[in-house]
Amino acid sequence: MADKISNKQIFFNPFSKDNPVIVQVLGICSCLAVTAKLEPALVMGISVIAVLAFSNVIISLIRNTIPTNIRIIVQLVVVAALVIVVNQLLLAYAYDVSKQLSVFIGLIITNCILMGRLEAFAMGNKPWPSFLDGVGNGIGYAIILIIVGFFRELLGSGTLMGFQIIPQCFYEAGYVNNGLMILPPMALIVVACIIWAHRAWNKDLQEK
């Protein structure tokens, strides 16, 4: 099964057709938590890409030596080690964003996408395809995070990456930022809208 998919498909499928967030509906929790602003969403996306790619490679390298009974523990140890590295890097080089993301970087360990990819792909494939799969799925996750973060920050705060986008004259004319966009329920609705548009576009994904 795995041999039949080309490397290109492994890399590009998770972008849209096999997207971890909007098709497999994994990692929704962090999608709600970190997307109130675009910047943390971006950093979170990059962190997940990095952790997912390297944990996929490491697990793939040692996949034949991991005893089946304790494979989840081994996977968790690898992911946890990588998450700690990422967290330390963020603390060192992007302290403010790291403060905004708070526990959610640590919670990458529990992100369903990671365990899913490790179990479903890295345990049965060679390192290079596993790397591509990790990067592809990470990007698929990051795309959704960025889209959600874009709309939530634009409509909720009138800014993007902290810069004011909605012109001041709008506010003077009576425009008010939508406070609901900052609250988690709206993240769910934005994700739902993305799924809606995506399914409308890809007819073969529609459930009967």
């Binding site: 009576g174 425009y175 008010v176 939508n178 406070g179 609901l180 966009m181 609250l183 609705i189």
Partner: protein, 405 residues
């Protein structure tokens, strides 16, 4: 009427399949059945024939809302005149001021909501459903008079699409559409939906009324929530109208207090309730048990009143007359689509609406309007209540059948 019928009949062919105005078929259909009794009847099987279709139901609800609407207009004018410091209150000027204040909001709510309904009906090749008829009139009535028009438009669009259409249109929504509109406004634009600047119209309407600067007047409930623990002796006395006079229970019952447009007058709401209960449109079980639940919770809150929660000093009568409680209990909670179906469930549902409304209002100072959240919460729980009632019934009958063996 005959001429109108002739006109409609003459226009019919161009709306049918192949006609040049076919794209607007659902619009034609909607107007036609709105004006005249449809002459299509079921062709097969046995059906109960009843003149009480959903269009009739909706129209009776609107009739029941008219006292509140008229009073809302008068009160909008009255509050404005009071704020301007006037001594005399010319009735027709007050009415026309309120009319001009509410008209744009009504129009916006209807245009946006019905527009979306028309588009969706056309898109799905269905008939236009009449559910928005009532929702459109409810939306301006449960919003503060000063809510900007574009906010009403955004909120209406949001709730019609995400609460009604995505679930399949009228009759399939799990939440009350009008209340979701208000909840959306409340959470998205809190500054425009609460506080002391929005409940009294301050501008001129077509030359009627005067300009008022720096007007502040919160609703009585808003005053209670913000008055803090200092006047523990008698918080009720701390409630004042715009002119600074204390508000009596009689005023609260009549509704001459600042508040959302249509919900201030408990008297008019009761007139509406009589119409709805007499015609059998609203379930008396829900209305009655909602008031009972509210009264019980208000008694409990008043019994163990503490200065930490100033609203707990309100008496039962004040709790039931203030804010949107009565309006929600009469016009929102018994909505047949989102409430319970079973009779036992209706008692439980109504009672919990009352209890939760007073509970939120009293013990959460951030949300003086608990009725909205209570009805939405119970909308979500209604299917669960029905399920439990039905299961309990099944178990009871099983036990009886076993015992008879």
């Amino acid at each position: 009427m005959k001429a109108l019928k002739k006109l409609m009949d003459k226009a019919r062919p161009s709306f049918e399949e192949g006609g040049k105005l076919h794209a607007f078929r659902s619009v034609y259909d909607g107007i036609d059945t709105f004006l005249f009794t449809p002459n299509e009847t079921s062709r097969s099987g046995v059906h109960i024939h009843d003149s009480m279709d959903s269009k009739r139901t909706m129209i009776i609800v609107i009739v029941a809302l008219i006292p509140c609407l008229l009073f809302g207009m008068y009160n909008a004018g009255y509050q404005h005149w009071l704020a301007a410091g006037a001594d005399s209150f010319p009735f027709w000027q007050l009415m026309s001021y309120g009319f001009l204040a509410v008209l744009p909001r009504l129009v916006v709510a209807y245009v946006v909501g019905l527009g979306i309904e028309f588009i969706v009906a056309q898109w799905r090749k269905e008939e236009i459903q009449e559910g928005f008829l009532v929702t459109g009139i409810l939306i301006p009535m449960i919003c503060p008079i000063e809510t900007p028009l574009w906010m009403i438009a955004v909120a209406t669009a949001f709730s019609v699409i995400f609460v009604k259409e995505v679930f399949g249109g009228t009759g399939y929504n799990i939440f009350n559409v009008a209340l979701v509109t208000r909840a959306f406004l409340f959470f998205a634009y809190p500054a425009q939906m609460s506080g002391d600047k929005v409940f009294v119209a301050s501008g001129k309407m077509l030359g009627i009324g005067g300009e008022i600067d720096g007007l502040t007047c919160a609703t009585p409930l808003g005053q209670v929530a913000t008055s803090g623990a200092t006047d523990a002796a008698g918080v009720a006395g701390a409630m004042t109208d715009i002119a600074g006079d204390p508000v009596s229970l009689w005023h609260m019952f009549l509704g001459l207090i600042p508040g959302s447009f249509g919900e201030t007058s408990t008297l008019c709401i009761l007139i509406g309730a009589l119409i709805l209960l007499f015609t059998g449109i609203a379930s008396w079980r829900i209305v009655l048990s909602a008031f009972a639940g509210g009264a019980v919770m208000a008694l409990i809150a008043n019994w163990c009143a503490t200065p930490t929660y100033p609203a707990s000093f309100l008496t039962v009568g004040e709790q039931l007359c203030l804010g949107g409680f009565a309006f929600a209990a009469v016009f929102m909670a018994p909505d047949p689509v989102t409430s319970c179906r079973t009779n036992t469930g209706k008692y439980i549902y109504g009672f919990l609406v009352g209890v939760v409304a007073i509970l939120i209002r009293t013990y959460n100072n951030g949300y003086p309007e608990g009725a909205m959240l209570a009805v939405l919460l119970m909308n979500a729980l209604a299917p669960l209540i029905d399920y439990c009632v039905v299961e309990a019934n099944v178990r009871r009958r099983m036990a009886r059948a076993k015992a008879a063996e």
